[in-house]
Amino acid sequence: MRGLAKAFPGVQALQDVGLEVFPGEVHALMGENGAGKSTLMSIIAGLQPPDAGELQLDGRPVTIPNPHAALRLGIGMIHQELLPFRALSVEENLFMGQQPTRGFPGWIDRRALRRRARQLLDRLGATFPPTARMGSLSVAQMQTVEIAKALAHRVRLLIMDEPTSAISEREVEALFRIIGELRAEGVAIIYISHRMDEVFRIADRITVLRDGRHIETRPAAAFDEPGLVRLMVGRELDAAAPRAPTVAGEPMIEVDGLSLPGRFADLAFAVNRGEVLGLAGLMGAGRTEVLNALYGLVPATRGRIRIEGREVRIRQPADALRHGIALVTEDRKVSGLVPQLSVEQNLTLASLRRCCRGPWILRAGESRLAEDAVATFGIRASNRNQRVNQLSGGNQQKVVVAKALLTRPKVLLLDEPTRGIDVGAKAELYTLIDRLAREGMAIVLVSSELPELMRLSDRLLVLCEGRITAELDPRRTTQEAILHHAMPAAAAA
């Protein structure tokens, strides 16, 4: 049993990636958001097929059409987001789809079920009974159940996608002990994590992916942390120089002691008129949550917000809009657009008061507002009354941005404004952000694409686990430095 699994797929997200994992090995997979880690793992776990390439198990080529087939081959995956049947018990979750039966077909042998569940849980040192309701468990306990489920299928390759992102320090120790035992039993483990300290502690070998390409595979001992980060970031900075610094105006929005338990704590920062403040950080660092709090979608529980020196209370989006704060949400499909409404109706949705007399919508006023927006933002639609979901992604995104700007904000919050749009639309948005800043708007930008963030921002705040770990000048810093401050381990050091 050499070469337990091999993958040479060539999808767009992945290009000619090779990976070799041996029995009894913990193999860490490292890379930035979007480097292709998840795609590669979902191919191995049978969630999506590769466009090209070959998978080998024990030296023999295999195809893995679905997760069920993966399990039969002995490949299991613990997802970052667990999806248990919360209303069912632990034992029912463990044997979902392969319950032991007796006599009559479909008649579940409850005693065998419980006995085998208890064996599995004991082996992992679980402290909860097999009869516990899944929904009553902590995230770490659910993870244990997931691992037990994989063991029930006698997996030989276990993929763990950021298993420690939502569990406590002590639970991490327990998890590592389990991983150690599995390794000793000859199970191969692919471990995905952003945490340097963890990776160096438990990984035997490390593979770095970047932009969908295989960069490097070496024994963990052959890496050091700065070198690993450099390999992960890798690419040269975009040719485009950062934008010319804008003349610093007076503070437009000031935030002090902003806290939301479990999300972010004690944040203090200010954004000046005409300034673009970039928020950097890894997934789950609290960037989106900060924007949502400033906009009142999920208000902060403590802290003060001042607009142009005046303290304001923001408990819902309507408050934020009244005080001149607008938000372009992270996902336009989820919270940006109303797909059934027209382009025009989506554009004016947040600023309908501008074209109303009392409750009465002035048709001509609304059309004028929408027409101006279509022209100003270069929204390409066959007509304003076209349903908005018939537009291309880039044009849909322009509608979302235009909708926010039609409220005439002083502070504009942008959450991943260029996600999923093409290069041309991206460039147009960059130009727009530059122009808005020059016109005196204060802008807070969240983007997972570091080059973009560095190009657009006047100033960078790095968030890690809900706290500000660094304030950097994007013109004088490097992606490595930003990532260094964004990594939990480094931040603690």
Partner: protein, 320 residues
């Protein structure tokens, strides 16, 4: 300065001809052969009967259109209608004050029930199906309790005239439906809160992120729906000259059927008052036609069931 491609004139939504006029087409397809086989169908007298028959269901359907547009549902309409009818009737005995009193009491009763539905749905975060199922049971009980289980009769003639009288040859209940539908149409199409109803039903998260008071919009929808159920209760009590605690059983489903046949999506965000009226009209014409053809009411129910499913099936096939 206008961009050349867009015009200031409101352009019809990009729905195909069939989607826009399919219902009217179906109506004609049923009415023409019916008029040939049964000439009685096309008499003014019969058409007035049809209009009168659909007025109650029409008013209820307009109300529940609001709720369905937000993505909710209201099962309590029939019971609320009965409760409002009983309430109105108890204030409609001869010499019991001004005529407006029973009318106002009936509508207010319905409004209150709707407001309670809306409050529990938004504050308690309970599924609308359950909330309004509870209201359906409770309002029925309340109607029986209030009336002692007996019809409330001996109503003053001015009140019953509201159900039987006519103005300009058109029955008063039909006037009520037309006024209600016109007001609802204007509200949904031309009023800001009306636009918000569509936004909330289309994408609640996006509506919230646009600064819309989502819960307030939902409460409004349930309250309007209750108020119109109250009005329908008053009209029905006037027409049958009694406040019947057992009236309106199953009416909520007829109303929802009319709305859905009229093209309103059960998942919210899509639909119109015009569609709802056409849906109610189609159901009324089919009922009347089967009556004229002496088809037993047992068969009528079967036909109605097939039409409800068939209409929505065709609609969803078309949307693909």
């Amino acid at each position: 300065m206008n961009p050349p491609k867009t015009s200031r004139r409101p352009i019809p939504r990009d729905r195909s001809w069939l989607a826009r006029y399919g219902l009217l087409l179906a109506l004609v397809a049923i009415a023409v052969p019916l008029a040939i086989v049964k000439p009685a169908f096309l008499t003014v007298q019969n058409l007035v009967i049809v209009a009168r028959q659909i007025s109650i269901n029409g008013i209820l359907a307009v109300g529940v259109t609001f709720v369905l547009l937000t993505g909710g549902v209201d099962l309590s309409l029939g019971s609320v209608l009965a409760l409002a009818g009983v309430a109105a009737a108890t204030f409609a005995h001869p010499d019991s004050g001004p005529l407006i009193l029973p009318v106002a009491v009936g509508i207010l009763t319905g409004t209150l029930c709707g407001a309670v539905n809306g409050f529990v749905v938004t504050r308690g975060n309970v599924a609308p199906f359950i909330v309004t199922l509870g209201m359906m049971t409770a309002a029925r009980g309340l109607a029986l309790l209030w009336s002692g289980g007996r019809p409330v009769s001996n109503l003053r003639p001015e009140f019953t005239f509201l159900g039987s009288g006519s103005l300009a040859g058109i029955p008063l209940p039909v006037w009520a439906l037309l006024l209600v539908a016109a007001a609802a149409w204007v509200f949904l199409v031309r009023f800001r809160p009306g636009r918000y109803v569509y936004a909330v039903g289309g994408n609640e998260a996006a509506a919230r992120a646009s600064g819309i008071n989502v819960q307030g919009v939902k409460r409004l929808a349930y309250t309007v729906c209750g108020a119109l159920a109250g009005l329908a209760g008053v009209v029905l009590a006037a027409r049958i000259t009694t406040g019947q605690p057992n009236a309106g059983i199953g009416y909520e489903l007829d109303a929802i059927a009319a709305v859905v046949i009229g093209g309103t999506s059960l998942s919210g965000g899509v639909g119109s008052i015009g569609g709802t009226l056409q849906g109610a009209l189609l159901m009324g014409v089919i009922n009347n036609g089967l009556d004229l053809l002496n088809v037993s009411s047992y068969y009528q129910n079967i036909v109605k069931g097939i039409i409800i499913v068939g209409a929505v099936w065709l609609d969803s096939r078309h949307k693909k």
